[in-house]
């Protein structure tokens, strides 16, 4: 019996159908996945849902780093994590940045354990370290390096926009402590009229739609 006879027509057809199905499933999920990045589920147009965000005005910033210090001292950042940072370049330009509580939070999408939640009421992205397995997937997914893994616990932590203070009717600490009101917060429907985060080499805001705007010095 030759080898080819062992491969009956039925087997070949069956193999073909199997391969076709797998390819179709693969392609479908790929398509769905990429489509999702454009229009993610659970995203209602901004007009229907409230979304708050940060506003950084470089013209007013005196580089005192009070925003960073109060955050670090209050929340006792674990070794290895940075919730807020004052970025500076050699030209003396600066940007105070934390988590941007994105409209399409890539961290939340990739996190296998659903440690991230995006609040409907104000769009704050909160990470729950108690659920976190520390896989590090969100560290790759976030273009702004907001989530970081703590060296001791092995869990991720990041800025939560002082949501507890906000729920109690107060503002976030970093905004409150800023002596020149260079760092403020507001509703994104208004803030997005004034600018965006397409700023000095930062990643394309289209990736995650960050809810922060930066107003540069020379504007």
């Amino acid at each position: 019996m030759s080898n080819n006879k062992r491969l009956s027509r039925r087997t070949v057809i069956k193999g073909g159908v199997l391969l076709g199905t797998v390819t179709a499933i693969g392609l479908m999920s790929t398509k769905a996945l990429w489509a999702e990045q454009v229009v993610p589920p659970n995203t209602v147009p901004l007009s229907k849902k409230k979304q708050i965000g940060f506003c950084y005005d470089e013209r007013k910033c005196i580089r005192c780093e009070m925003c960073v210090k109060i955050c670090r001292n209050t929340y006792k950042w674990e070794e290895g994590t940075i919730w807020r940072k004052l970025l500076k370049n050699e030209k003396g330009e600066a940007l105070s940045m934390s988590c941007n509580h994105c409209t399409d939070p890539a961290c939340a999408k990739v996190c296998p354990v659903v440690a991230y939640t995006k609040r409907e009421s104000d769009g704050i992205v909160i990470h729950n370290p108690a659920r976190c397995v520390g896989c590090g997937y969100c560290l790759y997914a976030c273009p702004y390096h907001a989530p970081r893994i703590g060296e001791k616990t092995g869990a991720v932590s990041k800025c939560h926009f002082c949501y507890k203070l906000q729920d109690a009717g107060q503002g976030p600490l970093c905004v409150g402590v800023c002596p020149t009101q260079a760092l403020t917060m507001g509703d994104m429907t208004e803030l997005s009229q004034k600018g965006d985060l397409n700023y000095k080499g930062l990643p394309d805001p289209k990736i995650t739609k960050p809810n922060m705007i930066a107003i540069p010095q020379n504007q």
């Binding site: 019996m1 030759s2 080898n3 006879k5 062992r6 491969l7 009956s8 087997t11 069956k14 193999g15 199997l18 199905t21 797998v22 499933i25 693969g26 999920s29 790929t30 996945l33 999702e36 990045q37 589920p41 970025l87 500076k88 370049n89 330009e93 600066a94 890539a106 999408k109 990739v110 996190c111 296998p112 354990v113 659903v114 370290p129 659920r131 976190c132 397995v133 520390g134 896989c135 590090g136 997937y137 560290l139 790759y140 997914a141 976030c142 273009p143 702004y144 390096h145 893994i149 703590g150 616990t153 092995g154 869990a155 991720v156 000095k200 080499g201 930062l202 990643p203 394309d204 990736i207």
Partner: protein, 311 residues
């Protein structure tokens, strides 16, 4: 950007290797690899342990999950996350592959449905290892449609190599089907084309300057040695050349034999030659090492879309 290192690279490699081994035995069992194959068992036996060991490596790479293992159960939660898909696929695959191996061990015919489900799960496992990286938009080098395709082809190629090698050591019946060499050649050839296309898309397509920077690390930078020596020459071009020459010689010998009407004898002489078998084992090892190198350079070349500094 070094949150993921060796452990994850080896995990992605083993996921593909185990899946490829299952697919090899599946193909052999269904008669796709010729009538006198001895590849119809070993792949089934090793697939679950290999993928299982890989999953164990993934777990040891976890931060808090390693200290609080019950948290790992939570990884089934986010149906939007490719990592969660992977957890389902890999768990199901290990289960089905173990069941298949049990039937083969008991010398019973494994239910057809089981082996078909296993084959689909094996393909899904291999594809998932690529998808895991491909969906990360913030790492432009990974964000490529070709990533899952490349990983699937490499999985099949390394799986076939491993199964052939193990069959040589552990199966009493020694055969070498021409179809196996042909398939090997086909897979290695396909992988070369996909890798070339992958880099061409990065250099001439729209994945951006950071993706090019990552690619440069592999092509001319710190990862160039393993890439060119272990993957391109050792794992792809070398094996392809040898498979090709082997095919050519076999055809010529067959031609001569047919003229003299002694096909069977010549076949026996060429197939059973221990020297050529030894060379084939070496090729299998080279292909497997190439597969591991592929995963490692891809993980290590990752650069974030933004380096964290103000320009």
């Amino acid at each position: 950007m070094e949150h993921w290192g060796w452990l994850i690279a080896i995990y992605l490699f083993l996921g593909g290797l185990g899946a490829g081994a299952y697919l090899t035995s599946f193909a052999a069992e269904k008669g796709f690899l010729g009538g006198a194959t001895n590849l119809n068992r070993v792949g089934y036996y090793v697939s679950a342990p290999i993928v299982g060991f890989g999953a164990l490596l993934l777990v040891t790479d976890l931060g808090q999950g390693l200290r609080k293992p019950w948290l790992i159960l939570g990884m089934f939660a986010n149906l939007n996350s490719v990592m969660t898909w992977g957890i389902y696929i890999v768990s199901a695959f290990i289960f089905v592959a173990l069941a298949t191996a049990y039937f083969v061990w008991k010398k019973k015919q494994a239910p057809k449905l089981l082996t078909y489900i296993g084959a689909v799960l094996a393909l899904s496992t291999a594809a998932y290892t690529g998808m895991l990286l491909a969906v990360v938009e913030a790492v432009p080098f990974w964000h490529s449609y070709l990533m899952p395709v490349l990983f699937v082809i490499s999985a099949m190629s390394t799986g076939l190599a491993l199964t052939s090698m193990l069959a040589y050591f552990f199966e009493k019946q020694q055969v070498h089907e021409e179809r196996v060499s042909q398939l090997h050649l086909l897979l290695v050839g396909a992988e070369i084309i996909i890798i070339a296309a992958f880099f061409a898309l990065i250099y001439f397509g729209g994945q951006g300057s950071v993706a090019i920077e990552s690619a440069n690390r592999i092509v001319i930078g710190s990862l160039a040695w393993p890439f060119w020596v272990l993957l391109v020459v050792g794992g792809l071009l070398g094996p392809m050349l040898i498979f090709f020459v082997q095919q050519f010689r076999r055809k010529r010998q067959k031609g001569v034999a047919q003229n003299e009407d002694m096909t069977v004898q010549v076949e026996q002489v060429t197939e059973g030659n221990p020297k050529s078998q030894g060379a084939l084992i070496l090729l299998d090892v080279a292909v497997i090492a190439g597969g591991l190198t592929l995963r490692c350079v891809i993980i290590f070349a990752a650069l974030p879309v933004w380096n964290g500094f103000l320009r």
